[in-house]
């Protein structure tokens, strides 16, 4: 456990005070398109090479990802518009500087902005505390400048981070971190000082990124997403659950896949008691209504001892 146990106190989902979403919704659903840019010539990082296939540039990989911003983003947008979905963009903030058309489309729709680094070819691994502090300031300022909104959360750049990440995120005024795929509900993370920070559910297994690299394509992905939703919806009668959609336009909005994505949205929208919302709203609602109760419960669980079982 190590690092996980340092940041996350144990609370089994069956023991927690129930989560109640607005309007008695069973499942809070949030759609997170990862809008990214991968650089033609990324700077070297000793911890991870974005294009290990060849000395840079790797134009095949560059082109495959660039398709997302030139074509697939716009195809995804149509589907989201058709279903009235306000997305939580997991954003490489460099996109705002480079691609004004995308910025404009997101601003017009009042999306929420979850930080996801500057480019998907820049990592937090190896960052000093000062570098990481400057990184948050820069990312937040960039989003504010282009959109007028202040981001509340982060999915680590290419899911990288340091041991200080939750502390420094909280220091920068962020309230949620999406890297932790350890639960179906938001849960408090331990951070320094008296700040508050939570994780909210995200997924790498239902994520179209890793998924479509495997033995799975649109039809199977849709089947998994529907199975996920159906189970959470059933269990959500007892305590509110969260279903994330972590998608990448250059993958899910390929011609062969976009209809499967839409079929999942249609499936979900056929149900009542669903809160179709954003990561920011889930996080804020949880902090306002459930966080204190959750912290009290964690303190209680920390005192749990298995007294009657100890033989010696």
């Amino acid at each position: 456990m190590g690092y996980h146990a340092e940041r996350v106190r144990y609370s089994p989902i069956v023991q927690r005070p129930p989560v109640r979403w607005p309007g008695g919704a069973r499942v809070a659903v949030w759609v997170a398109p990862n809008v990214e840019h991968t650089e033609y010539l990324p700077p070297p990082n000793e911890h991870m090479d974005p294009w290990p296939r060849t000395p840079h540039p790797d134009v095949r990989e560059y082109g495959f990802h660039d398709y997302g911003n030139r074509v697939a983003f716009w195809r995804l947008l149509k589907v989201l518009d058709r279903h009235g979905i306000r997305a939580t963009v997991s954003l490489n903030v460099g996109v705002l500087d480079h691609f004004p058309e995308i910025t404009q489309a997101m601003v017009e729709r009042d999306w929420d902005y979850m930080l996801h680094g500057v480019f998907n070819t820049r990592y937090l691994y190896g960052a000093t505390a000062d570098e990481e502090r400057a990184f948050y300031q820069d990312c937040i300022a960039t989003v504010q400048k282009h959109t007028g909104k202040t981001p509340k959360g982060m999915l680590g750049p290419a899911i990288t981070g340091t041991v200080r990440t939750p502390d420094l995120m909280a220091e920068a005024g962020l309230i949620y971190h999406a890297d932790w795929i350890h639960d179906d509900q938001p849960v408090p993370l331990e951070v320094s000082g008296d700040r508050r920070m939570i994780s909210i559910p995200y997924s790498y297994e239902l994520n179209d990124g890793p998924l479509l690299k495997a033995n799975v394509d649109g039809a199977e992905w849709a089947e998994m997403c529907k199975a996920q939703f159906d189970r959470l919806y059933r269990e959500g009668a007892r305590t509110g659950m969260v279903m994330p959609f972590s998608v990448h336009p250059f993958r899910i909005a390929q011609p062969a896949r976009i209809d499967y994505f839409e079929s999942v949205l249609e499936h979900i929208r056929r149900h009542d008691d669903v809160w179709l919302t954003t990561g920011d709203e889930i996080a804020q609602y949880y902090l306002d209504h459930h966080y204190d109760e959750a912290v009290a419960h964690l303190a209680e669980m920390a005192r749990y001892t298995s007294g009657r079982r100890h033989a010696g």
Binding site: M1, G2, Y3, H4, A5, V8, Y10, S11, P12, I13, V14, Q15, H47, M48, Y125, G156, I159, T160, G161, T162, V163, D179, W180, I181, H182, D183, D184, Y204, E205, L206, P210, A214, N215, V216, E220, E223, M224, C225, A227, Q228, D230, R231, L232, E235, M301, Y304, T305, S306, R308, R309, H310, A311, G312
Partner: protein, 290 residues
């Protein structure tokens, strides 16, 4: 034979295996509750662990968090499914879990689970490189700790990631362990040379193997579970067979996968002459047929 760990035997030539109440098939599920520690036990190798986004630099949040999901959420789905379909739970628990999750120890015992020893932590790989005294101490420390933390000395053993040295079966027998889940080479239990019983899970149905390594789809996995049962059930008309699943809460306890396990268990429960049992009870029945 290139080793002396057990006497060679081919299944069709064996005496008839008789389960309690003339059941054809013994059905069990091993739920693995193991923790992905970042530090390996001194003297052992570090296992290369599945989960998250593959091996990442420290802090590897995706991998640690993915596995923690099992202890926080997934295990309750699996245990509920077992309870619903009347399969006594067998929990392969490591010392790290028993130490850090006293709630789970009580929870699984309250549900009547049998606990099998699963080493100190998932990251420990027992191998030929471990000195004999290191491995002997590892086994003893694991059993002692689990006895202290759960109230009972485990009868069964699972080496993290099915790991063993050439000495393991002997050292386990010397330590008083009755059976091992490490050997996946049969559809029946069998005796090993040192007195240990091998109780083989079906490796092809192991969720890490099928779903993460081979990446079969959820519906294919569900079909594998029932197809496998059907063939074993058919074959068990002449001699008893074993259908033993090995599942991890952070894999099959995910919302999109649990339904396939439930469907398989419902399929099992719809058959007569099936004995749903813990691994302890299976080994007991194998050694002392009624």
């Amino acid at each position: 034979m290139d080793h002396g760990l057990y006497e060679w035997s081919v299944l069709p030539d064996r005496p008839r295996l008789v389960w309690p109440d003339e059941a054809r098939l013994a059905v069990g599920v091993v739920v693995q509750l193991a923790s992905a520690d970042e530090d390996v036990t001194p003297g052992l190798r570090a296992a290369s662990l599945l989960g998250g986004l593959g091996k990442r630099p420290h802090p590897d949040v995706p991998l640690l968090a993915h596995r923690a999901y099992g202890h926080r959420v997934g295990v309750f789905r699996l245990l509920d499914a077992l309870e619903q379909y009347g399969v006594p739970a067998t929990v392969a628990m490591d010392v790290a879990t028993a130490t850090r999750y006293p709630f789970l120890v009580d929870h699984v015992l309250d549900r009547g689970a049998t606990i099998v020893a699963a080493g100190r932590s998932a990251v420990d790989l027992v191998s030929e490189q471990a000195a004999e005294e290191v491995e002997r101490a590892y086994i003893a420390d694991t059993l002692d700790a689990l006895e202290r933390l759960t109230g009972t000395r485990p009868r069964g053993w699972y080496g993290p990631e099915y790991s063993e040295s050439t000495r393991t079966p002997r050292l386990l027998a010397e330590a008083g362990v009755g059976y091992t889940l490490n050997w996946v080479n049969d559809d029946q239990p069998y005796r090993m040379t040192d007195g240990l019983v091998a109780l083989p899970p079906t490796y092809e149905l192991d969720d890490a193997n099928a779903l993460l390594q081979r990446k079969v789809t959820i519906s294919t996995y569900g079909r594998m579970l029932t197809d496998s049962f059907d063939v074993l059930y058919r074959e068990s008309s002449d001699s008893g067979r074993l259908y033993l699943l090995h599942l991890r809460p952070w894999i099959t306890g995910q919302p999109f996968r649990i339904g396939q396990v439930e469907r398989a268990l419902a399929h099992v429960a719809a058959h007569r002459e099936v004995w749903r049992a813990s691994t302890d009870d299976m080994v007991q029945a194998f050694l002392q047929p009624a």
